[in-house]
């Protein structure tokens, strides 16, 4: 390692080779163990900027099925990068066992050290957070590879071909996020649903039935499909459209599986990035870097976690909350002790517990305090006419609304909830889907196109119940086109 001779303002560039990285990795891993992080084995791959762009376009997967949309996203990333609009990430980590991370070849030594520490933060999070329990990390790479192989085979099959595969994938992609959000909750099989419906239809046990009027129970409609509203649109179509070929069903399964893999990421973006940033800071600060490296660390670290006015920087928000949570459980103010009572857990215990059992929405709900909201000057904005205007700020009346709005915008909360209510609406095999409206309307042109994708997969008319401008409406998509009509 180089020794620092002079203190110059400009950060010096450290030459390094792979063995230096290995060396630093050893030191970082010692710290990781010391702090009690619990990681999968880790693999690093050094790549250049084209490699990184490629991985970004395919969400970091070493192999992925082909679809033009990935070419589109590559072109977009490349254009943005070439014109200097956006830089490249220092790293990318994928949730797999062993965890795979990509490091940019041209980064400085310090950036690599910072990045390696950051990656271990993600790695620990992937291994321990409950959201990722349903993703089988040891099979991630193989699963994606198998998907790629299957899709390629369909493309090459002369009786199927690229056009038809693409049509299904286009439609499936439009609907892929319309799936279950909390994968830790088990989905009941149809027979279990039936049991539950039958049980619900039984008269409740009433010790005073003799003196009570007879309970009214509605009979179970055994023929209703689905018995309970179903959120997994793609899987529902796969299981209930008898006209789909096997390869079409398989494509729907593939798209659904990939979406569920990414749902976990989406659900924990703020926590995960905050956690990794929090740990790279603690680890790197404990490494006793020499002065020039340390100066560069301060610069780089601040670039990553700086707040971006007008946006939410998940690194900043997440790290703030983790730091605050740790502080409140190690060094609470007198006021906090009075309010929250004596400490039951140490700071470390508390944050490790939180990283295991929370996801973004619950994490924000529980640990984003009024003081933090005020300190970060979070606000709520709305579109009024052609302008975007601040509508609520973090004052006494507003902070709860700001928090509520923020929670509604994180993870899968930013995706409208759609459920299949009836697969045989009007005895016509019309698919009846309901949008669970929560005050936010659907973007109509997007809804129209997406609904036509659903119709294409379903093969018959599809109707969507929603609320537009306060009026209950029915959006219909059939072979004659798209119509909207008001419901009473």
């Amino acid at each position: 390692m180089s020794t620092s001779q002079t203190t110059s303002a400009a950060p010096r560039v450290h030459r390094y080779e792979l063995k230096d990285l290995v060396e630093w990795d050893k030191r970082i891993r010692a710290k990781v163990a010391e702090f009690g992080l619990d990681c999968y084995p880790q693999e690093f791959e050094i790549c250049d900027h084209t490699g990184m762009l490629g991985y970004m376009a395919y969400s970091g997967m070493p192999s992925h099925y082909p679809h033009w949309s990935y070419g589109k996203s590559y072109e977009k990333l490349k254009t943005l990068y070439d014109h200097g609009v956006s830089g490249l990430p220092y790293e990318m980590v994928i949730n797999s066992n062993p965890a795979i991370a990509y490091l940019m070849r041209d980064n400085t030594l310090l950036l690599q050290i910072l990045t390696i520490a950051h990656v271990y933060g993600h790695n620990d999070f992937f291994k321990n957070n409950f959201t990722f329990k349903s993703t089988r990390a040891e099979l991630t790479v193989e699963t994606f590879k198998a998907h790629a192989l299957r899709v390629r085979r369909y493309v090459e099959d002369p009786s199927i071909g690229q056009e038809r595969v693409e049509r299904i994938l286009d439609s499936a992609h439009a609907l892929s996020w319309q799936c279950r959000r909390n994968l830790a909750i088990k989905k009941l099989s149809p027979s279990e649903q039936l049991d539950r419906a039958v049980e619900a239809a039984q008269p409740r046990h009433d010790p005073f039935h003799k003196i009570h009027a007879r309970q009214e129970t509605a009979p179970v409609d055994y023929h209703k499909v689905p018995l309970e509203p179903d959120e997994d649109l793609l899987l529902f179509v796969r299981d209930h459209n008898p006209f789909l070929a096997d390869w079409e069903k398989d494509l729907l399964t593939i798209v659904d599986e990939e979406a569920k893999y990414f749902i976990s990421m989406m659900e924990t973006k703020i926590m995960n990035e905050g956690w990794a940033s929090y740990w790279h800071k603690r680890i790197v600060e404990s490494l006793d870097l020499d002065q020039s490296l340390h100066l560069e660390f301060i610069v780089r670290h601040n670039q990553v976690i700086r707040p971006i006015p007008g946006q939410i920087n998940p690194y900043h928000l997440g790290m703030k909350i983790w730091e605050d949570l740790y502080r409140r459980h190690t060094n609470p103010t007198a006021e906090e002790t009075k309010r929250d009572g004596p400490l039951s857990k140490s700071g470390n215990e508390k944050i490790f517990e939180a990283r295991e059992v929370e996801r973004d929405s619950s994490f924000l709900r529980r640990y984003l305090t009024e003081e933090l909201i005020r300190e970060m000057d979070l606000f709520q904005y709305e579109t009024r006419g052609e302008e975007v205007v601040v509508s609520k700020v973090a004052d006494i009346e507003g902070w709860r609304d700001v928090k509520e709005t923020l929670i509604k915008a994180v993870g899968t909360n930013s995706i409208p909830v759609l459920k299949v209510e009836d697969a045989d609406f009007g005895q016509n095999r019309t698919l009846y889907v309901k949008h669970y409206h929560d005050g936010r309307d659907l973007q109509l042109d997007y809804a129209e196109k997406s609904l036509s994708h659903l119709q294409r997969l379903w093969g018959r008319e599809v109707v969507l119940e929603s609320v537009l401008d306060g009026k209950r409406s029915l959006l219909c998509s059939n072979e004659r086109g798209f119509t909207v009509r008001a419901l009473k």
Partner: protein
């Protein structure tokens, strides 16, 4: 902590090639963009007046079908963001559709962040338009076949080439660029070469140590990498001779709208032929009661008036064919646009001349321009020409701008169906 060691996979340039796995998907994406443009061509031609426009002009083309739709929340969705410390209610923080708020990484992002328009130059557009069109019935009339047409076109610059094509100006510029870059690198401190710039870095640092700074300043020789060569592509085509005769009615009854439609049609035809066929000769004939051969400029831009003798235009065409383009040697295409408002007395003559033209031409097309409604009170040549039985005679009716592209395609596509 895992027992097994962390694995580091070193960068290998061969991996960089593997990482070009997006090539197939990128290609497919570009195909879709092109398809989308082609689907919109009828609209573009109807909306934009492309006649006489500079070929480098940029046209905005909406792209449909390559935008990815999902169910997303609309405008009445409030968002949350971080302020700069003193946010007040009512403060304007952005414009609608700017992609405000939300931060990165949110799937199902707000609309407006996806691009759905692309800029295309007129030249590219024309190229895409005519991609799958060809002059129908093009036979190789054997007697006088132009053996080859070697057109050498300059196309870009390469790092390798033959000496005569060395582009001195670019080479010199390249050297200056490299000189400036290397000076900046030296200014930033010697070890910077480790960070990148692979081609220059090999070997040069060692050399630099041997030279004094003054000597370096004096001498900065050309390097192999500086050399730039003009690249020339040779298009070799073997084609038969073809001549296209454009006949347009410029009589008084052809009002501005009709002339516009006729000219749009011929403009397309002209662009098509000049883009696709290098050795096709084009003849322009304008006629009212008399016909004359005019230049391209006059044909597209000059107005005239008077009565209409369609036969005069045909006679003139026949005359030119007899003089210059013997049917046994040339593939002949004749297209005529008129509003069909011919003097009745001329109809038999016109019919006869048309039959003659159809007889000697590979294809003879007649486009009748009747802006909406006028068909009911103006006379039409379509009825007259119905009597022509020749299979290579085609008529179309152009009623509005939107008809131009379909009828143009119909003209060129018809014969291929027969084949």
């Amino acid at each position: 902590m895992p027992n097994d060691d962390t694995i580091f996979r070193e960068y290998r340039p061969s991996d960089a090639e593997r990482s070009d796995r997006s090539a197939g998907d990128r290609l497919r994406h570009r195909q879709k963009v092109r398809e989308s443009i082609r689907e919109n061509i009828a609209d573009i031609i109807a909306e934009e007046s492309i006649i006489g426009k500079d070929r480098d002009r940029v046209i905005k083309v909406p792209l449909r079908g390559i935008k990815e739709y999902r169910f997303v929340y609309g405008d009445n969705t409030p968002g949350a963001a971080q302020g700069d410390g003193d946010s007040r209610p009512g403060q304007v923080v952005g414009k609608k559709g700017e992609g405000e708020g939300q931060g990165d990484g949110h799937a199902g992002d707000r609309p407006g962040v996806d691009y759905y328009e692309t800029d295309v130059t007129l030249e590219e557009l024309i190229e895409i338009m005519f991609e799958d069109l060809e002059l129908p019935n093009l036979e190789r009339r054997a007697l006088r076949e132009v053996a080859t047409d070697q057109a050498a076109r300059r196309k870009g610059y390469r790092k390798v080439g033959i000496r005569v094509r060395l582009d001195k100006r670019r080479t010199a510029k390249q050297r200056i660029t490299r000189m400036l870059a290397s000076e900046r690198r030296k200014g930033a401190g010697a070890p910077a070469s480790s960070a990148g710039t692979p081609p220059a870095a090999d070997g040069t640092p060692a050399q630099n140590l041997l030279e004094t700074p003054a000597a370096r300043k004096r001498r900065f020789p050309f390097h192999q990498d500086d050399l730039r060569y003009k690249h020339v592509e040779v298009d070799t085509k073997e084609e038969s001779n073809a001549a296209v005769i454009c006949i347009m009615d410029t009589s008084g009854s052809m009002d501005t709208m009709k002339k516009y439609l006729a000219r749009s049609f011929f403009f397309l035809l002209y662009q098509f032929i000049s883009t696709r066929y290098r050795n096709v000769e084009i003849v322009f004939i304008a006629h009212h009661t008399e016909a004359s051969e005019v230049t391209e400029e006059e044909f597209f831009h000059k107005g005239e008036s008077g009565g209409t003798f369609i036969s005069s235009g045909y006679q003139r065409a026949l005359q030119i064919i007899a003089e210059r383009y013997h049917p046994s040697l040339w593939n002949l295409y004749a297209f005529h646009c008129s509003d069909g408002d011919n003097f009745d007395s001329d109809n038999p003559a016109a019919l006869k001349a048309a039959e003659e033209l159809a007889d000697i031409c590979n294809l003879f097309g007649y486009g009748e321009i009747k802006p909406l409604g006028s068909r009911y009170y103006e006379s039409s040549m379509l009825n007259v020409f119905r009597r022509i039985a020749a299979p290579n005679f085609h008529t179309v009716l152009i009623e509005r701008k939107e008809d131009i592209w379909p009828s143009f395609k119909a003209f060129l596509a018809k014969d291929r169906v027969q084949e």
